[in-house]
């Protein structure tokens, strides 16, 4: 399915017709919601933590220059390298140059929205560097050549049967019957990759400015392997991921797992301060390395922090939209969103789905490209309640809608013109009560004319047609409230 060709309505239609996807989405979101609820119930001070998390992010984002400088300085003190990338291309260029300079031919990757955002794998492949996704869900969609459908569980749209078939086909292994078998195949196949890769590329959940520490949370252990085994670790980190002090982590590390998966804590949390030293007593024996990767130009381990802008400074410049940078990518807003629950992640057309996706995609990709996303929401507000950093997502969606209208970036000029005209007409009538009343009487009369059996039929009016496709609309009976009120006087 070539999602890029269709618009959101088209992609949504495909999603709604996909029975397998519908079952998977319902099951996954129901499960996440109940797990999250239970996890949150175990923290009586949850609201205070949320408020604090928001405050920390607000303070950091408003002083981002200071904290980024501090972070970079600290990482360099640790002996790490810092590269500041303006665009996704810059990131790709750096990783490729680094790989070439060090003779790296394969790279193990952990799940990183930032690297997906910039299609880093694509760039690496084109340059002859083989990227291997190691998170099970990402591994699955890499093999299937698909986009992720959820931030936390990217392959949730696939059944175990589909995955088993995929493995059998691409990995030439036997057809797995149980989920445990699928996992075992991934463990065995990927272990070899971890051991032979010359480089590990990850994202980061948090980057602590005060201590120069990169923090990564996970359940599988693939991040630990990607950062502990290969000699070189590259962390691609959006500039918004920084937090000021080490102790700020405790609030976030309590909020993130509970919000994302309903766990009290993920299986592993890694705190990394630059490159690893050699193990005591072990000689870094470069000459005797028989690894396919060739020699490292240095005998030490390397750590590279790639700080990525890629449009974030544009968001930063907009004081209203700035709070979208507080996001810690937990996925909670997806699970509670009635729209996401129905259409899944791929229908959003890019990397970030759900309410946060509907906000950051237009901001990062541009209004023309993604401007329809903010309109595909009923503005119910469940996302805001679920957000551990208390981002006012409905407010941001409304602000984006206004931006799109002001910029004239709507999809479909004809529809846009009709809508604008209707809205102008409506506003004009609203200011003139007698006109409003008369127009109302006229419309109700017309509605009665096109009604049958007490129900309004569409009669060629597009909006009515869309409504009556799925729902009945009762024909108006009797007068309006104001007419009846007058009569009673």
């Amino acid at each position: 399915m070539n999602h890029a060709e269709q618009d959101l309505a088209g992609r949504s239609h495909a999603a709604l017709e996909d029975a397998v996807l519908q079952t998977a989405l319902k099951s996954a979101t129901d499960t996440f919601i109940s797990r999250r609820r239970e996890a949150v119930a175990g923290v009586p001070e949850w609201q205070a933590l949320r408020a604090r998390a928001r405050r920390v992010k607000e303070h950091t984002i408003n002083n981002l220059d200071y904290y980024l400088e501090q972070l970079a300085e600290k990482v360099r003190e640790h002996g790490g390298h810092v590269y500041w990338a303006t665009t996704g291309e810059d990131v790709g260029h750096y990783c490729i140059e680094l790989a070439r300079a060090r003779g790296v031919t394969s790279v193990v990757k952990s799940k990183s929205m930032a690297t997906e955002e910039i299609e880093l794998n694509h760039a690496l492949e084109a340059a002859g560097v083989r990227p291997i996704e190691t998170d099970l869900g990402e591994y699955i969609i890499q093999l299937a050549r698909e986009k992720p459908s959820h931030i936390i569980v990217p392959a949730i749209h696939k059944t175990r049967e589909q995955i088993a078939e995929l493995f059998a086909e691409k990995l030439k292994c036997g057809l797995a019957r149980e989920v445990a078998e699928i996992t075992a195949v991934a463990r065995e196949r990927l272990r070899g990759e971890f051991l032979s890769a010359g480089m590990g590329i990850t994202g980061a959940n948090f980057a602590v400015a005060e201590t120069g520490t990169i923090v990564l949370v996970e359940n599988e252990g693939n991040i630990r392997l990607s950062t502990q085994v290969p000699r070189i670790h590259v962390a691609v980190v959006g500039i918004e991921k920084v937090v000021p002090r080490f102790e700020d982590l405790s609030v976030f590390l309590r909020l993130l797992p509970r919000s994302g998966t309903g766990q009290k804590q993920t299986a592993y949390v890694s705190f990394l301060n630059g490159p690893r030293r050699r193990t005591r007593g072990v000689e870094a024996d470069v000459a005797s390395r028989s690894s396919e990767q060739g020699q490292a130009s240095e005998s030490e381990f390397e750590f590279h922090l790639v700080l990525m802008d890629n449009g974030r400074t544009r968001i930063l410049a907009d004081e209203r939209m700035r709070e979208s940078l507080y996001c810690i990518r937990c996925g909670a807003c997806l699970n509670v969103c009635p729209v996401y629950q129905k259409i899944g992640g791929q229908a959003y057309g890019w990397i970030y789905p759900g309410p946060i996706g509907a906000v950051v995609s237009p901001l990062l990709q541009g209004l023309k490209q993604a401007g329809e996303l903010p309109f595909a929401s009923s503005l119910c507000g469940a996302c805001r309640d679920a957000c551990p950093v208390d981002i006012n997502l409905p407010d941001l969606l409304l602000a984006l809608r206004a931006k799109v209208k002001e910029a004239g970036a709507d999809v479909g000029v004809a529809r846009n013109f009709a809508e604008r005209t209707a809205m102008r007409g409506y506003a004009a009538a609203v200011k003139r009560p007698k006109l409003f009343a008369a127009a109302g009487r006229l419309v109700r009369g017309l509605a009665r004319l096109v009604s049958k059996d007490g129900k309004v039929r569409s009669a060629g009016v597009p909006a009515l047609g869309e409504w009556t496709k799925y729902r009945d609309l009762p024909a108006p009976r009797g007068g309006s409230f104001r007419e009846r009120w007058k009569k009673k006087r």
């Binding site: 309109f375 469940a382 209208k405 609203v430 597009p462 869309e466 409230f481």
Partner: protein
């Protein structure tokens, strides 16, 4: 206690009995009820669709109409319309030159209430002497719940109605899928969300579903009717006016 009715454009034009029921109950409870017929629409449709200029024009009209009302409270049978004025009008008048408007807005904004929050929090009333036989469930309209924080009050009012057997549906606080123009712009998605809500309503075993928002009721009723369901919808004002 003087109440000025904020009937909302939807109730005025399509569901007048909802407004009449509200007025009847308020009178029965001893309120002096007025209706300023210069009112039209609070501007929410324009605001939610991104038409700020039009929304502002409609808001100015609203303020002009209601600042003239001497009433203690301005009461609406809709959480989303009440929330529009209370929570979102401020944004339409935030520019430096809007000082005078902000003052005028304040005198109106602080008096606006949704109907159930008015009865319970302002009048201190839960039992309005209504009677209705049947099993009733309640749908939490999103803006009423999340913008105004009203969840408990409608339930207390419903439970106090003689003859009512109140049952909670699963996840009553999930969206019905209306969302204003979303319901026609993304009709297929809107309907798929609606179907979930209808399934929960059916599973509750209730014969009537009550809500405080005519837009939600229009969506739910439209779906129930299309499905040929015997379940009825009723606005809270209509339930409380039942005798």
């Amino acid at each position: 206690m003087r109440v000025s009715l904020f009937v909302t454009c939807l109730v005025d034009q399509l569901f007048p009995r909802v407004g009449e029921a509200m007025a009847a109950t308020l009178r029965r409870l001893g309120c002096e009820v007025t209706f300023n017929e210069a009112q039209t629409c609070c501007g929410q449709p324009a605001f939610n669709t991104g038409y700020r200029a039009q929304a502002r024009a409609m808001a100015e009209h609203f303020v002009r109409v209601f600042e003239r009302e001497r009433a203690d409270f301005i009461v609406a049978p809709s959480g989303s319309c009440a929330a529009m004025v209370r929570n979102f009008y401020g944004e339409l008048f935030h520019a430096p030159g809007d000082e005078e408007w902000r003052v005028r807005l304040e005198s109106v904004r602080t008096r606006v209430r949704e109907f159930s929050e008015f009865l319970v929090r302002e009048l201190g009333v839960e039992d309005v002497g209504a009677r209705f036989e049947g099993r009733v469930t309640y749908h939490d309209a999103c803006h009423l719940l999340r913008e105004l924080g009203v969840a408990d009050e409608p339930r207390r009012l419903i439970r106090a109605v003689r003859g009512v057997e109140f049952v909670e549906m699963e996840a009553p606080d999930t969206c019905c899928g209306f969302g204003g123009t979303f319901s026609v712009k993304y009709a297929e998605i809107s309907n798929s969300i609606l179907q979930e809500k209808l399934a929960r309503i059916t599973r509750s075993g209730a014969g009537t579903v009550v809500a405080n928002d005519s837009s939600c009721l229009m969506q739910i009723a439209g779906g129930l009717s299309r499905a040929g369901s015997p379940v009825k919808t009723m606005h809270l004002t209509e339930l409380l006016a039942s005798r």
